[in-house]
C-alpha cells in the first residue's frame, strides 16, 4: 500500500491527473455497468415471464394438430395426412421433451410431468391407432381412436389448467418483478448519486493536492515580487514537477540573495572610494579657502613686498630687504602651490621662510635646526603640510613658554618611508589631546584659535596625507621623552631605488 502511495507521489502531474480522472471514469463506468446489468436482468426476467405461457400455447397447438391429422388420416387414409401426422407427432414429442419429467413438489411442475407422461401414452396410442388403420383392423383403430380421443381431452384440459395456473403465477411474478424493478431503479439512482458525489470529492481532493503547492509557490513568488527577499519558497514534497519547481526557485532565490549581497559590498566600496575623493577635494578646498581668506590679493602683496625690498636695498637696509624677500617667497609659494603637489624640498624651503619671518617678528626667539638627507628632498608630497605643523609647534608649544624655544626638523629614511620629524621643546601635549587629534575629534575652542597660525589645522593635514597616500600610518604625534615638547612625524612612502639621489647630508 505504502509502496503504491509512494509510486503515485513520484508521478508527474500529468500522469497523476490522468490516473485520477481515469480512476473516476472507470469507477463511474463500473457502477453504471453494474446498474445497467441489473436493470437489464430485471427487464429480461419480466420479458420472460410470459414465455412459458407461449410455450404452452405451442404445446396445445401441436396437440391439436396431431389430433386433427390423426382424424384426417383415419377418415381419408391419405398419405399426405399420414406424412403430416408424423411431422406433427415429432414436433409434439419435441415440445413434450421440454416439459418437466421429474416428480417435484410443486403443483405446476407435477402437472407438467403428468402432461408429459399422458402425452407419451397418448402418442403411443395414436401410433397404435395409425398402425391398426394401416392394417385395416377396423375395430382396433376405432377403439384406439376413442381412447386417444379421451386422452386428448385429458391433455387439453390439463394443458389449459397448467396454462391458467402458470398465467396466474406469472401475473403474480410480474407484479413482484415490477416492484423489484422499481426498487432497482431507486437503488440505481441512489447509487449513481452516491458515486457521483464520491467522484466529485475525489477529483476535488486530487486537484487540491496538486494545486495547493502551486498556490503556495505562487504566493511566495508574489511576496518576492513585492520585494520581500527574505521569503523562501515552501518545501513541497509532492514528488512531482511542483517539487522540482520549488527546489529550483529556492536555489534561484538563494543565488539572487548572494548576488545582491555582492553588489551591495561592491557598491559600498565604490561609495567609500567616491566619498574619499570628495573628502580629499573638500579638505583641499578648505585649505585653499582658509588661505585665500588670509591673503589680500597676493600679486598686489608680492609687488608691494618687492617694492619694499627694493626700497630697503636702496636705503641700504639689508636685513629689512632679506626679511621682505623671505616673506614674499613664503607667500608666493603658498599662492603658487595652491592645489598642486610639491616636493619635500619646496616644503622645507617654505618652512625655512616661515621660521625666518617668525624670528624677525619675535626677535630670534625661536631656535631652528634641521637635519635633512639631501637625497630624500625630491620626494613628492602634498603642499602646505609642514608649514601648519611648524605653526602648531610655535603656537601651542613654544609661544608662551619661558626660556629659549627651539624647533628641530629631521628628514631621514626608514625602510620605504621618508620620515619628516618636527619636534619642539615647548609646553608639550596631553595624551587626550593626541588621541583627539588622531581620531579627528579635536574641536578648536573658538574661531580665534582656529584662525591663529595660518588656519590650516593639523586635522586637515592628517586627512590630506591619508588621502594622498591612501594609507593610515602617515602621521604621529608624540610627547618627547624628556617630558617637555612634542614630536610630530610625517611618514611619506617612497620607492628608494627610483628616487633621484642628490648630494649628501646637509646640516644647518
Amino acid at each position: 500500500m505504502e509502496k503504491i502511495v509512494e509510486k503515485y507521489q513520484r508521478m508527474s502531474i500529468r500522469y497523476k491527473l490522468i490516473l485520477s480522472f481515469l480512476m473516476a471514469c472507470i469507477l463511474l463506468f463500473l457502477i453504471n455497468g453494474i446498474v445497467y446489468f441489473d436493470l437489464n436482468e430485471t427487464v429480461g426476467q419480466i420479458d420472460s415471464v410470459y414465455s412459458s405461457n407461449l410455450e404452452l400455447n405451442q404445446l396445445a397447438d401441436g396437440l391439436q394438430k396431431v389430433q386433427d391429422t390423426l382424424y384426417q388420416y383415419l377418415e381419408t387414409k391419405s398419405s399426405k395426412a399420414l406424412e403430416q401426422y408424423y411431422v406433427y407427432e415429432q414436433d409434439y414429442r419435441d415440445l413434450c421433451a421440454d416439459l418437466n419429467s421429474e416428480t417435484v413438489g410443486s403443483s405446476t411442475a407435477l402437472l407438467e410431468k403428468n402432461i408429459s407422461n399422458i402425452s407419451n401414452t397418448y402418442l403411443d396410442k395414436t401410433d397404435e391407432t395409425i398402425e391398426a388403420k394401416r392394417g385395416r383392423d377396423v375395430s382396433r383403430y376405432k377403439e384406439g381412436y376413442a381412447e386417444s380421443q379421451k386422452l386428448y381431452q385429458y391433455l387439453k384440459a390439463s394443458i389449459d389448467k397448467l396454462n391458467t395456473d402458470i398465467f396466474q403465477q406469472n401475473s403474480e411474478h410480474y407484479s413482484s418483478l415490477r416492484s423489484t424493478l422499481n426498487s432497482v431503479i431507486v437503488l440505481a439512482v441512489a447509487l449513481l448519486c452516491l458515486i457521483v458525489s464520491v467522484t466529485i470529492l475525489w477529483i476535488l481532493f486530487v486537484t487540491n493536492s496538486i494545486t495547493k503547492p502551486l498556490i503556495e509557490l505562487a504566493g511566495a513568488a508574489n511576496e518576492i515580487a513585492k520585494g520581500n527577499m527574505d521569503v523562501s519558497f515552501p518545501m513541497v514534497k509532492t514528488g512531482d514537477e511542483t517539487t522540482i519547481v520549488a527546489k529550483a526557485c529556492n536555489k534561484m532565490i538563494d543565488s539572487i540573495r548572494n548576488y545582491i549581497e555582492e553588489i551591495k559590498v561592491n557598491y559600498e566600496r565604490e561609495a567609500k572610494h567616491i566619498e574619499n575623493e570628495l573628502v580629499m577635494k573638500n579638505d583641499l578646498n578648505e585649505a585653499q579657502l582658509r588661505f585665500l581668506q588670509a591673503q589680500i590679493n597676493p600679486h598686489f602683496l608680492f609687488n608691494t613686498l618687492n617694492a619694499g625690498a627694493q626700497l630697503a636695498m636702496m636705503e641700504g637696509a639689508e636685513k629689512t630687504c632679506l626679511f621682505i624677500e623671505n616673506m614674499a617667497d613664503f607667500f608666493r609659494y603658498n599662492v603658487r602651490k595652491m592645489g598642486e603637489d610639491a616636493t619635500l624640498r619646496e616644503e622645507i624651503e617654505s618652512v625655512d621662510n616661515y621660521i625666518y619671518i617668525l624670528n624677525v617678528r619675535f626677535a630670534n626667539e625661536i631656535g631652528y635646526e634641521k637635519r635633512v638627507q639631501q637625497k630624500l628632498l625630491n620626494v613628492e608630497m602634498p603642499s602646505m603640510i609642514l608649514q601648519p605643523i611648524i605653526e602648531n609647534a610655535v603656537n601651542h608649544g613654544i609661544r608662551g613658554m619661558e626660556g629659549y624655544g627651539s624647533i628641530t626638523l629631521d628628514v631621514y629614511a626608514e625602510g620605504d618611508v621618508v620620515c619628516v620629524e618636527v619636534s619642539d621643546n615647548g609646553a608639550g601635549i596631553t595624551d587626550e589631546k593626541i588621541s583627539q587629534i588622531m581620531e579627528n575629534r579635536y574641536i578648536q575652542k573658538d574661531e580665534r584659535e582656529a584662525g591663529s597660525g595660518m588656519g590650516v589645522g593639523l586635522q586637515n593635514v592628517i586627512s590630506r596625507l591619508k588621502r594622498f597616500y591612501n594609507r593610515e600610518d602617515v602621521f604621529t604625534i608624540e610627547k618627547n621623552i624628556t617630558g617637555s615638547g612634542t614630536t610630530v612625524r610625517v611618514m611619506i612612502p617612497f620607492e628608494p631605488m627610483s628616487q633621484h639621489i642628490a648630494g649628501g647630508n646637509e646640516n644647518d
Binding site: 469507477l27 441489473d38 421429474e102 413438489g105 410443486s106 407435477l110 403428468n114 401414452t121 384440459a157
Partner: protein, 351 residues
C-alpha cells in the same frame, strides 16, 4: 509533515470509500438479481424433488375428512421421499373417479391410492394399473375382487356396533316417556355411490347391537345420491320435516351429512327431538356435540389413514409384499370428551 500525513489519510479514506461503494453495489445487484430469479422461478425449480409420485383419487373433493386424510398421506410421503398428488383436486374439470384412474394410469404414476367404488370399471382400471406396474391401494372402500395390493380402512362392522350402542343409549333415555308398542325409527344415511358392502356391514353391526339390547327399534337405510350435487342437503331436510314418518335417530355416515343434519335441526328448530349420531370430527360437528345438537360422532383419524396408505404403498414398493387389510382405530366423540377435540382443533388451526 503532519499535513502530509493527514492528506494521505483522507486519500486513503476516499479510496476505501470508493472500493466500499463498488462492493456494496455489486452485492446489491447480486442480491437483487438473485431475488428476481427466485421470484421468476417460483416454486417450480426450487421445489424439492421426489423419488416417487403417488396419486390419490377419492370422491369427496372439498371434504374436511378427505383433506385431513390427504394431509396425512402427504406428510407420510415426505418421510419416504414420495410426493402424493391429490388428483381429485389437481385435475381440472369434473371427472369421475374412473376417469381420474384412467388419467393416473396414463400419467404413469408410481402408485395410486383410490377410494374404491362398486362399479366394475373401477375393478378393471385397478387391474389395468397393476398390469402396467402401478401399485394400487384402496382406502376406506375396498374393491375386493381386484388386483389391489392392500386396503386401508376401518372395521365397518365394529363401527356399526359403536353406532348401535349409541342408538340404544339414546333410545333408552326416550323409552321412559314413549309408547312401548311403537318401534323407534332409526335412519342410516347411506351413500349409494359407494360400495354397499361397507355400509351394509355398518347396518348389520347396528342391527345386531340393537337386537341384542332388546330395544324395539326399526333400522332403515336412507340412500343419498351423492352423484348429484347438493342432493344430500335436500334429502336430509325432507327427512327431518316429514313429521309423521321422521326417524327418532339419524345415523350419518359422512361428515357432510352430519353437518347437514346439524344445520337442519337448528334451522327448523328440531333440536332434541331427533338424535343425531355423526361421523368424523369436523369443527361444526364438534360444535354440534358441544351444544348438544349432535349426541356423538364416530371419529376416524383421517390423518392416520392417509399416512397408513402411503406407508403401506411404500412398503410394497420397497419389499414387494404387504398386508391385504390394514385397519385403523375409531374413537367416539361425546359431550364428555368434546372439549379435548375442540382444543386440538384450535391448536391445529393455530398452526
Amino acid at each position: 509533515m503532519k499535513k502530509g500525513k493527514r492528506k494521505l489519510k483522507s486519500s486513503t479514506i476516499l479510496v476505501i470509500l470508493m472500493v466500499l461503494l463498488l462492493l456494496v453495489s455489486t452485492f446489491a445487484v447480486y442480491s437483487f438479481s438473485h431475488a428476481v430469479r427466485a421470484v421468476n422461478l417460483g416454486e417450480t425449480r426450487g421445489a424439492k424433488k421426489y423419488e416417487y409420485h403417488f396419486v390419490m383419487i377419492h370422491s369427496g373433493s372439498n371434504d374436511n375428512f378427505w383433506t385431513s386424510l390427504y394431509e396425512g398421506a402427504k406428510a407420510a410421503g415426505e418421510k419416504v421421499n414420495a410426493y402424493v398428488e391429490n388428483f381429485s383436486e389437481s385435475v381440472p374439470g369434473d371427472y369421475s373417479e374412473e376417469d381420474l384412474m384412467d388419467m393416473a394410469i396414463a400419467a404413469k404414476a408410481d402408485g395410486i391410492i383410490v377410494e374404491g367404488s362398486k362399479s366394475d370399471a373401477m375393478g378393471e382400471l385397478i387391474n389395468r394399473a397393476e398390469d402396467k406396474g402401478i401399485t394400487v391401494v384402496t382406502v376406506l372402500q375396498d374393491v375386493a375382487d381386484s388386483k389391489r395390493r392392500t386396503f386401508v380402512g376401518i372395521n365397518t362392522y365394529s363401527m356399526g356396533e359403536i353406532y348401535g350402542n349409541q342408538i340404544v343409549e339414546a333410545l333408552e333415555k326416550k323409552q321412559e316417556t314413549a309408547d312401548e308398542d311403537v318401534p323407534y325409527k332409526v335412519a342410516v344415511l347411506v351413500d349409494t355411490s359407494k360400495d354397499t358392502a361397507g355400509s351394509s356391514l355398518v347396518l348389520s353391526g347396528i342391527q345386531d347391537t340393537i337386537n341384542n339390547s332388546g330395544v324395539n327399534a326399526q333400522v332403515n337405510s336412507v340412500n343419498i345420491e351423492k352423484n348429484e350435487n347438493f342432493e344430500s342437503e335436500e334429502m336430509i331436510r325432507n327427512l327431518i320435516l316429514d313429521f309423521d314418518n321422521r326417524p327418532n335417530v339419524i345415523v350419518s355416515l359422512s361428515s357432510v351429512d352430519t353437518i347437514n343434519c346439524n344445520q337442519a335441526l337448528i334451522d327448523y328448530n328440531q333440536v332434541g327431538k331427533i338424535t343425531i349420531l355423526g361421523y368424523y370430527s369436523d369443527q361444526e360437528v364438534l360444535n354440534g356435540i358441544e351444544k348438544g345438537v349432535i349426541q356423538s360422532s364416530v371419529d376416524i383419524n383421517a390423518n392416520k389413514i392417509g399416512s397408513a396408505c402411503v406407508d403401506n404403498l411404500y412398503k410394497y414398493l420397497l419389499k414387494g409384499y404387504v398386508n391385504e387389510y390394514v385397519n385403523v382405530d375409531m374413537n367416539l366423540i361425546t359431550k364428555e370428551n368434546v372439549e379435548q377435540y375442540l382444543k386440538e382443533a384450535q391448536s391445529n388451526k393455530g398452526e
